[in-house]
């Protein structure tokens, strides 16, 4: 209450001066000067405000949705399963595992969901195996743990992220174009029906029978192990989906009009079976006819 009294005093004083002014100093030049001064002041204030809003740094926090809890959970998963080879700060451990800074959540999803990580042992390359129970993408807990781990890795250096669609939504509408792109970009290693093939020094391109749509997509994005990367600017998301449509339509015994794929690798097995079974049957029938005559 005590602080308000002086203010009232000054306000009363100002109004008294203002009331007196028109009577004693009524000259147009003075008024004009005052108005000009007031305008200049307000203009300066306004431009300072505009300049401030234009140049002031944006706050670094509160731009992403709050996933700190997910990241914290992911760190827990990381500490349980990955830390011994990839290091406490994802910097990697010499002769054990590479740095994960910048690999992104697409790579994390692919490696963990296919069971390649955690690695069973050091060898030519990581192989697909049954995922650990708490990292199994088919169970609710496992899927959440993979999400959390992916968010944790993504929070440390960013990188390619998995697509937002899931499952069949990732299959494109043009498997024929997908087939053409697959034969150009993928078939040299994975074979034209996704049977896989050998690489140098014990490494190999795996077959694609068990690969889900998300796994194929994240593999193209992140280029696991010796596979090259296929960025969205090199192979567009639509083209990736067409490739997935082709792969799912030819692998795992699909698109098999002859009744049996015979390994799915073309004329070698087909010719051998036709020769052995066909010629064998004809010889057998000829012998049988001769024996009965």
């Amino acid at each position: 209450m005590t602080t308000t009294t002086p203010r009232r005093h000054t306000a009363a004083l100002r109004s008294r001066i203002a009331a007196r002014a028109p009577q004693s100093l009524r000259t147009s030049s003075k008024l004009r000067r005052r108005i000009a001064g007031a305008l200049a002041l307000s203009l300066a204030l306004l431009s300072a405000g505009v300049l401030y809003t234009a140049f002031a740094p944006r706050p670094q926090i509160a731009i992403a949705q709050d996933d700190s809890q997910l990241v914290a959970q992911g760190q827990q998963v990381f500490n349980n399963h990955c830390i011994s080879c990839h290091g406490a700060n994802l910097q990697g451990v010499t002769d054990r595992g590479p740095s994960l800074i910048g690999v992104g959540s697409a790579a994390t999803y692919f490696q963990v969901a296919t069971g390649r990580m955690p690695l069973a042992r050091q060898e030519a390359q990581a192989i697909r195996k049954a995922p650990l129970h708490d990292l199994d993408p088919k169970t609710g807990d496992g899927a959440r743990n993979i999400d959390a781990l992916s968010a944790f890795v993504q929070a440390n250096g960013g990188g390619p992220t998995p697509p937002l669609e899931k499952g069949e939504a990732l299959r494109g509408s043009d498997p024929a174009r997908g087939g053409q792109l697959f034969r150009l970009n993928c078939a040299s290693c994975h074979n034209f029906t996704g049977r896989g093939g050998a690489l140098s020094s014990g490494k190999f391109a795996p077959h694609l029978d068990e690969s889900t749509e998300e796994q194929i997509y994240t593999a193209m994005l992140s280029g696991p192990q010796n596979m090259p990367h296929f960025s969205d600017r090199q192979v567009s998301p639509e083209e990736k989906k067409d490739i997935i449509a082709y792969v799912t339509s030819v692998t795992d015994g699909n698109n098999n009009p002859g009744g049996h794929p015979l390994g799915g690798f073309g004329p070698v097995s087909e010719g051998l079976i036709a020769f052995l079974v066909g010629i064998g049957a004809m010889v057998g029938i000829a012998v049988w006819l001769g024996a009965k005559a």
């Binding site: 792109l181 090259p228 990367h229 296929f230 600017r233 799912t248 002859g258 009744g259 006819l289």
Partner: protein, 393 residues
Amino acid sequence: MSGETSASESRSRRPTEAEMEDMTPDQLATLAAELDDVVVVQNLPKFPVAGTRAEKRAERAVAGWFLLSGLFAAVFVVAYIAWPYEYKAPSEPGYQMYALYTPVIGATFGLSVLLLGIGVIAYVKKFFPDEVSVQQRHDGRSDEVDRRTVLAQLAKAGQDTTIARRGLIKRSLGLASGVFGLGVGALALGGLIRNPWEGGKHAALWVTGWAPDHGEKVGTGYEKVYLRRDTGALGEEIIEKGIDGIRVRPEDLDAASMETVFPFRMSDLKDPKKLDHVLKESDTPVMLIRLRPGEQVTLRSGQEDFHYGDYYAFSKVCTHLGCPTSLYEAQTNRILCPCHQSQFLATEYAKPIFGPATRSLPELPITVDDEGYFVARGDFNEAVGPGFWERKS
């Protein structure tokens, strides 16, 4: 000996015209066998008494096979016309029916042929008579009279044509048939013969589709040769929809990537066939590889400026036997050829480090133009692919 006597006997027993008039068809058939020295020892019909139930049953069985064969043939024709044969993806409805198209066609056609064969065999086995015949075997060479007379006959026939004395006819005939033979040979082989040296220094042996003078002249030089991506679109589609995304830019590839690229010139857009053809030329495919930043790279002398940043462009044609060496291992930076396991090191000017290949993959000089697209600065500085006679390196 016995053969000869029986042959002469049978010859002596040849019937006269009048005798043949009186013979029945059965007797004539027996005579035919006798003339060939065949004696029918036994000929028992399967069903001596016609019209028994067993005979009718056998007849029905054979007819059954034939009818079944006809039935499957009819099913084959119907399935061939009416069965849904158009491609369906496994997730689409109607996939099961589509997937059965080939098995149904194959099974009905195969069964029809098989049952026809079974019917014929069943007919032979059930109705043909049990016959045992003996034919005399003629040992040794032919009769001396036959041999001499035949030879004399042939010699005389030749002499009568007077060919031995007609030198002009013989030579002109030889000439005609020789020239005709040459014509036939040229017709058969001509299509297979190509001259790989045609064009001297610009022969197909030495240059590829990347050579600047394959394009149109612009001012003093030639038009730009862009690095083209194959998006699976046909030439007509590209001309219709534009060339967005066809030309490769340095920001398109992530680190540790590989893309197969082909030459592209703006003048290609005049002809959709040319746009398609470029993708099928055997010596033009190039692997555009983007290494990881900071890789230890050894450059080949004379090719120090062929790369652009982390981007290196190597011919995709193996220097061993010309297979596509497109198995790029992004971690080891090796390029593996699937045919004979030659390996090339991308960080060392694609030098062979394993397998039968002895020469490095040729490197295409690339740069980026002022619009930000990759362009080739020229053709390879050596011939692409496996070695050949004239090649010095």
